[in-house]
């Protein structure tokens, strides 16, 4: 499934004293099966962009085409779009409401009008896919830890079997262990389920390891769009807008300056380690 954004603008509270231009002239093409990271400072418009992609917000101007169809056409089926593009919001507390975790995951498929058997099947599958412990299936969602709540929230969207899964800052408020678990889980889902994944984050370190395309947002505009290897060489510019390249990028550049012949484009620790070993031999 492909999504194309053509000159998309979005303005909050248009025509009032509180008007905010959250997105400016966004052009993007999202292809089937990609693993995309959207990175940007707080307030750079990441969340706004994700809500445009599944039709929760309507662009102030510009067009969005999903599979070649204009989603702002009058006869376009918005419900259909929300089934295809799943969006997991930043705070799981905003969506958990049922008496048990299992029932909560059933909410999405139920709204899709499936029969009870299919609904439960999907809920089981989704909970298994996010690695949620079975003994908690029938516990209330309100006493879970932050990481477990995130899993239930992700499962709740996954159970709808979307073609594109968008996760808005899924690691916010988690400790390093919880963060790695969730990111590992997302990477595994991309590989095993073959769906397109858009991962929103404000930390380069988080996404560099996993994604094959990075979109850097700054003040409502796309600043860079490309593979991590193409984006990180701009680490000085990234710093200027309050972001940072992964630490290995800095290390490799410093080593290079000191005269060691290393590849400055290494993005993961493993790559860097091998490269340094190679250079030292």
């Amino acid at each position: 499934m492909s999504i194309i954004l053509d000159k998309v603008n979005y303005c909050y509270s248009e025509g009032t004293a509180y008007q905010i231009q959250a997105l400016k002239d966004i052009n993007l093409e999202i292809l089937d099966g990609q693993f995309i990271g959207i990175i940007g400072h707080t307030g750079s418009g990441k969340s706004t962009l994700t809500q445009l992609l599944n039709g929760l917000l309507k662009a102030t101007s510009g067009n969005i085409y999903v599979d070649g169809k204009d989603i702002y056409d009058e006869d376009y089926n918005m419900r259909d779009l929300r089934n295809k593009v799943g969006l997991v919001f930043q705070y799981p507390d905003h969506q958990l409401f049922e008496t048990t975790n299992f029932e909560d995951v059933c909410f999405g498929p139920k709204n899709q009008g499936l029969d009870r058997k299919e609904i439960e099947l999907r809920a089981f599958e989704a909970l298994r896919n996010v690695g949620f412990p079975e003994e908690l299936y029938y516990q209330p969602p309100f006493d879970l830890s932050g990481g477990q709540k995130r899993r239930v929230a992700i499962a709740g969207v996954l159970a709808m079997k979307p073609d594109v899964l968008i996760l808005d800052e899924p690691t916010a408020g988690l400790d390093p262990a919880g963060r790695d678990e969730i990111l590992g889980l997302v990477a595994r889902m991309h590989k095993e389920l073959g769906i397109t994944i858009i991962l929103v984050s404000h930390s380069m370190e988080d996404v560099a390891k996993y994604v094959d395309r990075l979109i850097v947002m700054n003040q409502g505009e796309v600043m860079y769009d490309g593979a991590p290897k193409e984006v990180f060489p701009h680490y000085k510019e990234l710093e200027a807008v309050g972001l940072a390249a992964p630490q290995v990028t800095y290390l490799m550049h410093e080593l290079k300056e000191k005269g060691l012949d290393v590849n400055v484009n290494a993005t993961t620790v493993k790559e860097a380690a091998e490269d340094i070993l190679h250079a030292l031999q």
């Binding site: 004293a17 599944n54 929760l56 705070y91 507390d93 905003h94 969506q95 709204n111 969207v157």
Partner: protein
């Protein structure tokens, strides 16, 4: 969508009205409301209109913004107008049908009541538009302070009011976010009959309540951690003090009272 509600909103601007002491604004609004219901005759009406227009002008709040608040009470205005029009007995009956009759007194009553309501809303919303909720409760606390002597917990009431007001925008924003999160999972808040609609609200209301209780808990803890123990011996960061413009405002208030009373005594017609 939910953000378009304007009643009780603050409109930030740099104006003399914004800078007035909240007590002055409370007192002036009270005078204005009394005048609105006691004036008689065209002269009194002109004086009130002029005063309101002048204050709106000085406040720099766009008139368009104020009219938006009126939209919420259009129905109330219509009902008031129609009832007064059709059910007031008078000397001259122009038209009648069963229990309904259109009289001279009915027409003037209807016009008067509708105008009074419009002016009431404009005047009071002007006060909330130019005063932050915090200033307003500070002002109320100070004005009602003497009631402490007869064991009315003025400080506690003011504190509860300011916390409630403070949380309204936060809860509105939260509602917006929860609605979106559930809509992303296919929830439908618009279609269906009354019972279905009520049932569809559950996924919205439960997270909202859970979060409101959690916030209340956190706030109580944070206040306790900073040794909050009620109003006894508590001082203000920004104590309310009158200065020159506040005294000028009180003088203008007095002039206003004198004019409205004079108009009532000397020109008590045609209303």
């Amino acid at each position: 969508m939910i953000r378009d509600i304007t009643i009780g909103q603050y409109y930030p601007a740099e104006s003399a009205i914004h800078k007035l002491d909240p007590r002055v604004k409370l007192f002036s609004t009270l005078i204005y409301i009394i005048a609105l219901f006691c004036f008689r005759g065209i002269a009194g009406f002109v004086i009130i209109t002029a005063a309101l227009a002048a204050v709106i002008k000085i406040s720099k709040v766009p008139f368009k913004f104020m009219v938006k608040g009126l939209k919420a009470i259009v129905i109330l205005l219509l009902i008031t107008g129609v009832f007064n029009l059709l059910f007031t007995p008078g000397d001259i009956t122009i038209w009648s049908w069963g229990p309904f009759k259109l009289t001279d007194a009915g027409i003037s009553n209807a016009i008067l009541m509708v105008l009074r309501l419009i002016y009431l809303i404009l005047g009071t919303s002007l006060m909330t538009l130019t005063t932050t909720p915090n200033q307003l409760t500070d002002g109320l606390e100070k004005v009602l302070g003497p009631l402490n002597k007869i064991h009315v917990p003025v400080h506690a009431i003011a504190m509860m009011m300011s916390i409630a007001l403070r949380f309204i925008p936060i809860l509105i924003e939260e509602t917006d976010k929860i609605m979106k999160a559930q809509m992303a999972r296919g929830a439908d808040f618009e279609n269906g009959n009354l019972i279905q609609k009520a049932r569809n609200m559950i996924p919205l209301l439960i997270p909202l309540f859970v979060s409101a209780f959690r916030r209340a808990d956190d706030l109580a803890m944070a206040m306790e951690a900073r040794c909050y123990s009620g109003g006894e011996g508590r001082t203000k960061m920004k104590p309310l003090t009158y200065d020159k413009k506040d005294y000028i405002a009180y003088i203008l208030d007095s002039v206003f009272i004198v004019l409205v009373v004079a108009a009532r005594v000397f020109v008590p017609f045609p209303m």
